[in-house]
Subunit: 531 residues, 2 copies
């Protein structure tokens, strides 16, 4: 197949998503990651709009890239000025970057309601804006906003907007499904029609409002488009943009289009996760290819099958995209799941040895009591190593007390006291207040341990989940608490179970700190690393 | 277009997802919601496998449904037994349900590596298993597992597996993309080929490993399939299944297939959110159609445009699927949603009256603080009636104290003291122990109230859920507690929110008892009755 250009707009369209904001430093870091990954165009933002984007474009000039080029984004000129008077077009030139993207209106409805110009005036604006930029030596990528809706409303007019953009010198005509409502087969037919009318290379830009953004991009390429726009992790307004971390492996592994090389592809999971860290959003576990659950197996029958042959339940080898297989330990997974976990944890362990049976029994017993180790690999490791007496806990709990009071004026107070003995025999007895009982307990425990183990200061909790087991038991129900902690380098999960919610939190909390000490002392690494 | 059957497998394939577990009560509630929504088949689980599913099938017999039918799921017989000796097939019959689904192997690789049988033996197993069920009067839906991979590996064999299933009497042949790796155009071509070889109605079942599950389902329907399987919120193992909450509105609003009626479609957002509450998972904000951000506008330009004409940036009217437009700058969430709820609660209330505004403000404030009344209708009613001073609380909390202690021998003690004033002015000060702090508080509160309100003895808690909001705040995170209570006649839900988990539990607990007194005194009935 023909080569396909990759165009990332995480920094522009992606930052339209609810809750997504990148600092200038974040943006520069992302540009470098995308460059190393092999992305050809990296849209940086609107240089004409906000101060942060202006600062970004000033900085990015000094950064040399390997493959990609940074592209500024803007619109066709304002109706009341000529192109050389238009602040937005001038800001694009001022970035000094060789390629620029501008969008124009393909849909009469928009010309009428949004721009309040006649259809003819809109055509003029497109053509002279593009020409102004090309005459200043720029390569112009023309984004035909709402192209598919415009085409469905008035095919000839929509095609005419492309024709004038091409006449102005645009080197790419990008067909945008801005509202994300067009289904794949319709995209296929429309792209084929456009293809038969234009020689200029076409691009595709889709949104996910009908849940088919990735499929729309792929089918457009199958219909002859050679340039695809999207964002990482599908960030974008409303339901998001086409997810490049899904599009890229589909192109390469399913459609045989060599858009990036094998080594670059193996960085995909890492890049997707770094971008979510920088966006300060939890990484979507179920994301195709790069999600933490993308190659996770839970059902006993499936685990059994993938042990026999990985192809049975994996559509690709996870390592190709830098991801990995995970075997979830759950009520549905049987003995084979636990054995597989053990194999990875203790390579060389004889599965029939008394030691293996001991661990196996300990795990079965824990599961019977409601523990669940999917998402709590750190507790799993601690349990395994403690059972085999290969690890000595770093502290011994002598007791705690938590008091929660609510007063008539509705104010509240939570206080925890805790007594622990460290491995050197020293007893620490501390007290702390908190926003609720668990926070108080957390603070008191850290007070007790941080003097002896200063590395615990690096640990912070990143996620906290509570699930009620046998929920019919009402307030006497057992609860399972999952905590995710990080030291900035790795992330790990721990679990606690009890009818007493405070005790369940305590167990997960204690394991999360214990695990940090365990991994530092044993030089271990968690499977999931961020750097 | 021809009608399309909707088949939901949230309760079976959906519960394969990491972190998803439903109680028997949850499953029954979901069956009812899906039935009202108009889903034709609701797969309930494996009756032959785990005790929870067995209990579910025992219970579900007594529930009458309007439209849908509950379907048990199983596999073709074990290689070493005849169908009438096969425990799994017998368990399917034992449910007494008229339609059953079984899956069989379409792919040689699976017959060889997983079942360890010859290709011929696999064909026999499919045919005689289906025949056994049809001869016992069942309608059989045959799920051809890994059909697309099997077809690509050996077209003739894959088609032969369908042929023997049809020969056994299967009434639907469902083509499954079990590994989720097949792209839409390929699905289109393969379905067309199958279509031309079979008269039996075809179905489609896709997974999202390539990010195209919804598109694959739609294109299969365009190629002639008339039965579509999926899950709500795309729950399912690895990257999930085709999302029915996306497939349904695409069928109805984009493809003109009248699979459910307009009124049912308007419940879609509600059902999707209830299921995520029951799964105890955050609802994905960016989900097409039903997500909170699906019609949210952030950029100034876009907000301006949608004010002028909603079509400019909305592919459908959000109200059609029970969702709503959100304008992010104002942070004004849910006015129409609240008004809709109010209308239901106080029919005839003038929406522009000061009273309505008062309730509106109170609800908006509560929602801003993390309260959510989907699944907590009792708290919603109490809040409404208290705000309008139409109801006087039955008791006034003067204060409580909870002490949780853990001793060196690992034993624990939880004690609560509580002081309340009853409406007659009597102050009760009680103390109780419990299995954990919430149970102790529950016992102390009942001790205080039951003498004056003996009807509270009828109330027992049937469900208890804890959800961490802003989970990144770690142990200082706000939590939302949902409690479901019953008096044997009706069931109602209440909610509490706080950074202090004990306070959040207290609120939900107090509301659950308060609601019992409220409904007894006002002669009210909850809309949701289980018996």
């Amino acid at each position: 197949m023909t080569p396909v250009e990759l165009y990332d707009t995480t920094l522009r369209d992606g930052s339209q998503a609810e809750g997504v904001t990148f600092s200038v430093e974040d943006k520069i870091r992302i540009v470098h990651e995308l460059d190393v990954l092999g992305i050809h165009y990296i849209e940086g933002g609107y240089p004409g709009s906000n101060p942060k984007d202006i600062e970004f474009f000033q900085h990015i000039k000094d950064h040399e890239l390997k493959i990609g080029q940074v592209v500024p984004f803007g619109s066709t000129r304002h109706p009341d000025v000529t192109p050389d008077e238009d602040a937005n077009l001038i800001a694009l030139l001022d970035t000094g970057l060789p390629t620029v993207t501008i969008f124009g209106k393909s849909w009469n409805l928009h010309a009428e309601f949004v721009l309040r110009v006649s259809p003819e005036k809109n055509l003029e604006m497109i053509e002279d804006s593009v020409r102004f930029l090309t005459e200043h030596g720029r390569t112009v990528i023309y984004d035909a906003e709402h192209f598919f809706d415009g085409y469905k409303a008035d095919r000839d007019y929509a095609l005419e907007t492309l024709r004038v953009a091409a006449a102005g010198g645009a080197q790419r005509l990008v067909l945008c499904d801005t509202n994300g409502g067009t289904l794949p087969l319709e995209i296929y037919t429309i792209v084929q029609d456009v293809r038969s009318n234009f020689d200029t290379p076409l691009g595709i830009h889709t949104h996910n409002d009908a849940g088919v953004a990735v499929a729309g991009s792929l089918i457009a390429i199958q219909a002859g488009v050679s340039h695809v726009q999207g964002t990482f992790n599908s960030y974008g307004e409303r339901c998001g943009n086409a997810n490049l971390s899904t599009v890229i492996p589909n192109l390469k592994l399913k459609m045989g289009i060599d858009c990036i090389d094998d080594e670059q592809l193996a960085r995909l999971t890492y890049v997707s996760r770094v971008i979510s860290e920088l966006a300060n959003l939890a990484h979507d576990e179920r994301q195709p290819y790069v999600g933490r659950a993308a190659f996770a197996h839970k059902g006993g029958m499936h685990i059994d099958a993938v042990r026999k042959n990985r192809l049975t339940f994996e559509h690709i080898e996870p390592e190709r995209v830098g991801n990995e297989q995970r075997i979830l330990i759950s009520e549905q997974a049987g003995r084979s799941a636990i054995l597989m976990k053990l194999e990875r944890e203790l390579p060389g362990l004889d599965k029939k040895s008394p030691e293996a049976m001991q661990v196996f029994d300990a795990l079965k017993e824990a599961e019977r009591n409601g523990y669940q180790y999917e998402g709590a690999e750190a507790s799993f490791q601690l349990l395994t190593h403690k059972t085999l007496k290969r690890y000595q806990p770093s502290f011994d709990l002598l007791g705690f007390r938590v008091i929660i009071e609510k007063f008539h004026d509705h104010s509240m107070r939570s206080e925890a006291t805790i007594k622990v003995r460290e491995t050197n025999g020293v007893i620490k007895h501390t007290a702390a207040d908190g926003d609720g009982p668990v926070n108080a307990l957390d603070s008191a425990l850290r007070k007790a341990l941080e003097q002896f183990y200063p590395e615990l200061q690096e640990v912070y909790l990143t996620d906290f989940k509570v699930r009620v087991l046998d929920s019919r038991a009402g307030t006497a129900a057992r609860v399972r608490v999952l905590i995710e902690a990080s030291d900035g380098e790795e992330t790990w999960g721990t679990v606690g179970v009890s009818e007493n919610i405070i005790q369940a939190c305590w167990e997960a909390l204690a394991d999360s700190l214990e695990y940090k000490l365990f991994k530092e002392r044993s030089g271990r690494r968690m499977e999931r690393r961020l750097k």
